[in-house]
């Protein structure tokens, strides 16, 4: 297991390295000059050149990349804005804030949104999916399946404003979504996130309903499940011990992908509810041609996805002993 984790972590580092190169090159392929953007309307050529020099954009691209890598690993004191300890992504062109600090400021919002949402959609989605599979062919099953179908064809930017309009602006049942620190005021934290969680989890849950149902039904037709029935184990036991165990693999796979991409920033959800998370940061960094921030967000999101993938692969080993020994 340890060897597996080490191997996968090294692989992840390689992927991140390649990703940073690609991001770097793509950035310089962009038609916009970040210095020009910072320089403003009254820009003189001298100012512009000065800015290029300050930002390090006058150096050749490989050298810039080398500096970026060096700063990332060792930190740097060369920035005009102040010291930058490792992991140093530099200072944002736009806000002049430390990129790592900005990331860490935004992370709790995304983390709260994602993890809270994930708990909701797992409970709702898997619960309804299991009930539908258990009561296969009945009215309950058909209702859940049809409902999941309808909901999964909706979008956050439809469901989100709808929920806001009804629950916040008309009936005032909930507060306007906002991020409050959990440590400062847990109730406000919960109240501010409840609508985003509900909307996010509704849409995700419908996919899990369908997936849990179909994968349970598939598993229930497996021969080893029939054997378990043939030796007298009850329907409930067979359902939860035998069929459920086999259904976990596809569910965990998809969950890993979903969680990873949500942790990297739920762009649409964050915009819909005005939450200052990593997704918004990513869009802003592109908007302002903010190379340090862009690299920071990209690498951070990628790390989240890779981390989730490694966790999923490790989870396979717990679920399926055939993977464990292979």
């Amino acid at each position: 297991m340890l060897r597996f984790l080490v191997r996968r972590s090294l692989g992840a580092v390689v992927i991140l390295f390649l990703l940073s190169i690609v991001t770097f090159l793509l950035f310089f392929g962009m038609p916009r000059d970040p210095a020009l953007l910072m320089c403003g309307k009254t820009c003189t050529p001298a100012n512009l050149e000065n800015l290029h020099r300050v930002l390090g954009l006058d150096k050749p691209i490989p050298e810039q990349y080398w500096i970026f890598l060096k700063n990332l690993v060792m930190g740097s004191d060369d920035f005009a804005q102040g010291p930058c300890p490792a992991p140093c992504f530099g200072y944002s062109y736009h806000s002049n804030e430390q990129v790592w600090g900005t990331l860490m400021d935004r992370l709790p919002t995304t983390l709260s949104l994602t993890l809270g949402g994930a708990v909701c959609f797992l409970i709702i989605g898997l619960g309804t999916g299991l009930i539908a599979a258990w009561k296969r062919g009945t009215l309950v099953d058909k209702t859940f399946t049809a409902g999941a179908m309808v909901i999964s064809s909706m979008q956050i930017y439809f469901l989100g404003p709808l929920a806001l309009a009804i629950l916040v602006y008309q009936t005032h049942v909930f507060d306007k979504p906002a991020y409050n620190e959990f440590t400062e005021n847990p109730a406000a934290w919960f109240g501010g996130l409840i609508i985003p969680w509900v909307v996010l989890s509704t849409i995700f849950a419908s996919q899990y309903t369908r997936m849990a149902r179909s994968s349970m039904i598939e598993q229930l037709q497996e021969e080893h499940v029939r054997t378990a029935r043939a030796k007298g184990m009850s329907r409930r036991y067979v359902f939860f011990r035998y069929a459920w165990r086999g259904s976990l693999i596809p569910i965990v796979t998809i969950f890993g992908i979903d969680l990873g991409s949500l942790l990297g920033g739920a762009i649409i959800t964050e915009y819909t509810f005005g939450l200052p998370g990593l997704g918004r940061l990513a869009v802003e960094s592109v908007f302002f041609s903010d190379l340090p921030l862009l690299l920071g967000v990209m690498l951070f999101s990628a790390t989240m996805i890779l981390l989730c993938n490694i966790v999923v692969d490790a989870a396979y080993a717990f679920i399926d002993p055939r993977v464990r020994l292979a």
Partner: protein, 356 residues
């Protein structure tokens, strides 16, 4: 003949004295194309300690019959009519909870492919121990010890260690042994073996058959042995029932059916089986045609579209009238007893023993 006594399809009540008595069993599935009559009017009896071999092609209703005995068919799509009496207890109408008490306890089943039939997620020991805990109320520890004991009994070396292994760590033959251990853990009175050796190679097959015979001696279970391999049946069974298209076409003791088969379908089965002592150059003679669709079974005798002896019966009897299966040693065919005897002796038997 003591085990196969009553006439099929006839209004003979189920034999409450027999250990297992199946009467006029009909099993049909609802499918999108229509109703499939997988088993159509099947009757047979089985006594303790005896082995009944059920032979037939794929889709002849062998497996369905036995899944129905345990109530393992899908009730949503399946209709079951007729009677299945196990020691006088009616199983077709039994509640699920009652069937659960029987399964793995009084009636156990061995499936064809032990790789897919054992769960990949749990250790072999746990899978064997589970029914023991459920039916005998044994503690986890006692059930585990019993599982180890059973693994030893079915000839798995070092059972204490191997019980902790997962099925994929076992070889094919060992997996089938584990499966047998699982089936026998609660000392069942009836063991249903559904092609238990089909997925195994021949040497392992022989070992497994020997093991089953030994265990039958020890436990005294009745066995229903389903196969399409007449060689295996000759080795294992006391009685044979040949099934075709959802019904029995011939029955008798092993000697009767294999030495002097009466039904053209049984002849076909024997003809299509390679033998070590036959001329290696002589072609096998497969039964012409394909098994009939059970959505639309043929009229009259279900075998008539593939039967090469129809003309000997004369008229259109084979097409219009379904032959019935008599009591005891019998075959469901319109040929006269004399015809059956002479055709076998003069036309079939010589071909079975062709020498170079």
């Amino acid at each position: 003949m003591t085990t196969l006594t009553k006439e099929a399809g006839a209004p003979v009540p189920a034999d409450a004295d027999a250990f297992l008595s199946v009467r006029d069993l009909h099993v049909s599935f609802k499918t999108e194309d229509g109703i499939v009559r997988a088993v159509d009017g099947l009757s047979f009896d089985l006594e303790r300690g005896r082995t009944l071999g059920i032979v037939g092609e794929s889709g002849s209703g062998k497996s369905v019959t036995n899944l129905t005995i345990l109530g393992l068919h899908n009730p949503m799509f399946t209709t079951v009519e007729g009677e299945i009496l196990l020691e006088g207890q009616e199983l077709t109408t039994a509640r699920e909870s009652e069937l659960e008490k029987l399964r793995g306890n009084k009636v156990a089943m061995i499936f064809q492919d032990p790789l897919t039939a054992l769960s990949p997620y749990y250790t072999v020991g746990r899978q064997i121990a589970e029914p023991y805990m459920k039916h005998m109320g044994a503690s986890k520890k006692a059930a585990w010890e019993r599982a180890v004991e059973m693994l030893g009994k079915v000839g798995i070396p070092n059972p204490k260690q191997r019980a902790k292994d997962y099925p994929h760590q076992f070889s094919g033959g060992m997996r089938q042994r584990a499966m047998i251990a699982m089936a026998l853990v609660c000392d069942p009175d009836l063991l249903i073996a559904d092609e238990p050796t089909t997925a195994l190679d021949v040497t392992v097959q022989a070992q497994i058959l020997d093991l089953l015979k030994d265990l039958q001696q020890e436990f005294g279970s009745a066995i229903i042995f389903i196969t399409h391999d007449l060689g295996v049946i000759a080795d294992m069974a006391d009685d044979i029932m040949v099934m075709y298209a959802g019904g029995a076409v011939e029955r008798g003791t092993v000697n009767e059916v294999l030495r002097a088969p009466q039904h053209p379908y049984t002849w076909g089965l024997l003809n299509s089986m390679p033998r070590l002592d036959s001329d290696p150059n002589a072609p096998l003679a497969p039964i012409p045609g394909t098994p009939p669709s059970l959505l639309n079974p043929p009229s009259g005798c279900r075998f008539h579209p593939r039967c090469t002896f129809q003309d000997r019966v004369g008229g259109t009897r084979c097409v219009t009238e379904a032959p019935s299966l008599g009591p005891d040693r019998s075959s469901a065919c319109h040929l006269t007893a004399e015809q059956k005897r002479t055709i076998f002796l003069e036309e079939i038997k010589p071909r079975l023993h062709q020498r170079p």
